[in-house]
Amino acid sequence: MKKTILFFLFICFIACKNDPNKQLPEVLEGESLVLNYAKGFSVIDYGTYKILEIKNPWPKAEKTYRFALVQEEMLPKITLNSDEFEGIITIPIKKLVVTSTTHIPSLELLNVEQTLVGFPGIDYISSKKTRNRIENGLVRELGKNEGINTEVLLELKPDVVVGFGIDGNNRTFETIKKSGIPVIFNGDWVEESPLAKAEWVKFFGVLFNKEKEADAVFNTIEQNYLEAKKLAKNTKNQPTILSGAMHNDIWYLPNGTSTEAQLLKDANANYLWNDSKGTGSLSLNFETVYSKAKDADIWLSPSNYTSKEALKNGNSHHAMFEAFQNNTIYSSISTTGKSGGILYFELGSTRPDLILKDLIKICHPELLKNHDLYFFKPLE
């Protein structure tokens, strides 16, 4: 009897166990794009088409946006239910419009900058490659991001518009969508770490069938970043850092969970507000900042002040800090392109390795002797 029960249990066990072979075809069906840091998007490649999901285009977004990216040659052979997707896009993209300067470096790193046909506020673009194209009349001005000139955009007939939004309310994008041009929201700015922001180069890689190139580009950036981080970690000296500046009574500075603070941590510097948490920047009282950071070794990114004189004119209290007296203030907004766009804003999120190297050079001058400051300059 016992044997019969044991045999019965054995049969049950065998019967209940999942057959791995049965699930295999599903796994093989779609191959997910490997993302190590970015959380805001995902891509599954089904060979003839890809599904792109944008999960977090703005903080607390409630909806996931799904796009079907169909290979050009497969277009006549595939039928997809358009109700399931925000848009069905033919890849590789031939013509596109992006809306943030942070998107430009990805296009250039993938050598597809010639696909850019329009941009809102082209004066903000600093990169030489794209500026040349602008000067040759190959990139059209589209006005402002909040009010893109729809007529010009429709005339350009881009395959896709890569937008960004601080929330879901942008009427211009709605109009563009209605006219049949898909709008994909890029959420690189919502990512919480410098490398996650940089990993969005893979998002552009997918649009252009250049996943391998994007992978290589990102791997180099990641490797450079991690090597620099390791180098900085070995030094014992941790300079204290003050950031931001006063506007009227309020001192605005990045919080401890911001990417700016993470970069400083990775540069082995002691950012004085490392412990603060929250979204958005901190708005502190002068008294608090002064009593904590009067003797700070280095003052980074003093808002939009471009000289010590302007900083003092903006508020006389700025001159009371040691860093002001010791000339250890560094700003990234003086490094601009031909038409005044700030390079740090454009290239910074794609190249965190360069920012990190700058910060290491500033905080630990004995390291990275061959590195010249790329974004930051001492305030004069």
């Binding site: 402002k144 006063m246 506007h247 009227n248 009574d249 309020i250 901190l282 708005s283 502190l284 009282n285 002068f286 008294e287 608090t288 002064y290 009593s291 009067k294 939009n304 004119n313 903006g314 508020n315 006389s316 209290h317 009371m320």
Partner: protein
């Protein structure tokens, strides 16, 4: 009507409250400084920590003095406007002084995007903003005054003032549309208002212009009282209406214009302090009202600033929001309690 002896007592009480608010304002802040060190710092002795001395002498003290100048100055300019236009809704905000100042500041900060090179060379410094705000407010008020010479109906003048404010707001909108993110940020920060942004040098210049406005206001007490009786009656008493109007406008634009220029637009005070004072003092005599508005304005502003600094917290709130949030309910409560407006 209470006799003058009662008023003297009220003034004494108000003055003592003002002193108390002043000292409280200086001793409260984000950084805890023991009272002993606050006093030591005020009399120039050394404090336990060097930073405390700078905070008291160069931040809290000028800020408290600015609060007194702003509160009293805006209150007085509101009183002058209300009497001049014989309208309880009149005040520097309603008649376009603030919108004029906003236009001036917008032209300097945002104008470079629209007008290009010419404005770019005009450095955006604190002084250019002060000058632009003063000019803007003076010009808009002058325009309202010119119209008021033609139009007799005071309500019409008020509406014209509002229309001027709308026009300037529209121009500011156009300038904002073309402004860059940084310029917009700078302009919005100006709009929040700020009391703690003045150095001693700036405060000195502010004080001189303020005194000029205050003295002109004091010399106008007689004509203000006569105006309350109506223009025809005032004329029959031998008052030169045109001259008096002009003098009062100058005093107002000096006071409100300079305050807006140095500290940004501060809401509520100009309109409400005169009403608060009239409710408490129950008189329309400017000899009593003017000093009373001075004291009330200064006290309310010091209280608002103390609240805005959020004692013992790292944060600070925009003063412009606090003045309305704290002050408006007080006026509503007084009006409901007394069931009528004293005017």
């Amino acid at each position: 009507m209470p006799n003058s002896k009662t008023y003297n007592l009220s003034f004494l009480v108000l003055f003592l409250i003002l002193m108390l608010c002043f000292l409280t304002n200086i001793s409260l802040g984000s950084v805890y400084i023991p009272l002993k060190d606050v006093f030591n710092s005020l009399i120039g002795s050394s404090t336990e920590q060097e930073t405390w001395q700078h905070i008291i002498q160069n931040y809290r003290l000028p800020k408290a003095l600015t609060a007194i100048l702003v509160g009293s100055g805006l209150g007085i300019s509101g009183l002058l406007m209300q009497t001049l236009f014989r309208n309880p809704l009149a005040g520097p905000f309603v008649l376009g002084i603030s919108s004029g100042a906003s236009l001036g500041v917008a032209l300097v900060i945002l104008g470079s995007s629209v007008f290009g090179g010419v404005f770019m060379t005009f450095l955006i410094s604190k002084w250019s903003i002060v000058i632009a705000a003063s000019l803007g407010s003076f010009l808009v008020l002058l325009a309202v005054l010119m119209v008021s010479l033609k139009v007799r109906d005071t309500m019409a003048i008020l509406i014209i003032g509002l229309m001027f404010a709308s026009i300037t707001a529209a121009i500011v909108s156009v300038l904002s549309y073309f402004g860059s993110a940084q310029q917009l940020q700078q302009y919005i920060f100006w709009g929040f208002g700020s009391l703690g942004n003045l150095s001693w040098d700036e405060l000195m210049i502010f004080f001189i212009i303020y005194c000029l406005g205050l003295i002109i206001s004091l010399t106008s007490v007689k004509s203000l009282n006569t105006m309350l009786l109506g223009e025809n009656y005032a004329k029959s008493l031998g008052l030169n209406i045109k001259r008096s109007r002009f003098v009062i406008i100058i005093a107002t634009s000096l006071l409100a214009g300079t305050i807006t220029a140095f500290t940004g637009p501060i809401a509520f005070i100009g309109l409400a302090i005169p009403h608060l004072t009239r409710q408490v003092f129950n008189t329309s005599n400017h000899k009593i009202l003017l000093p009373a508005v001075f004291l009330f304005g200064a006290i309310v502003m010091l209280i608002c600033d103390s609240i805005a600094q959020v004692p013992n917290s790292d944060y600070t709130l925009p003063i412009n929001a606090i003045t309305s949030l704290v002050g408006a309910p007080v006026v509503i409560w007084l009006l409901v309690r007394k069931r009528k407006m004293v005017f």
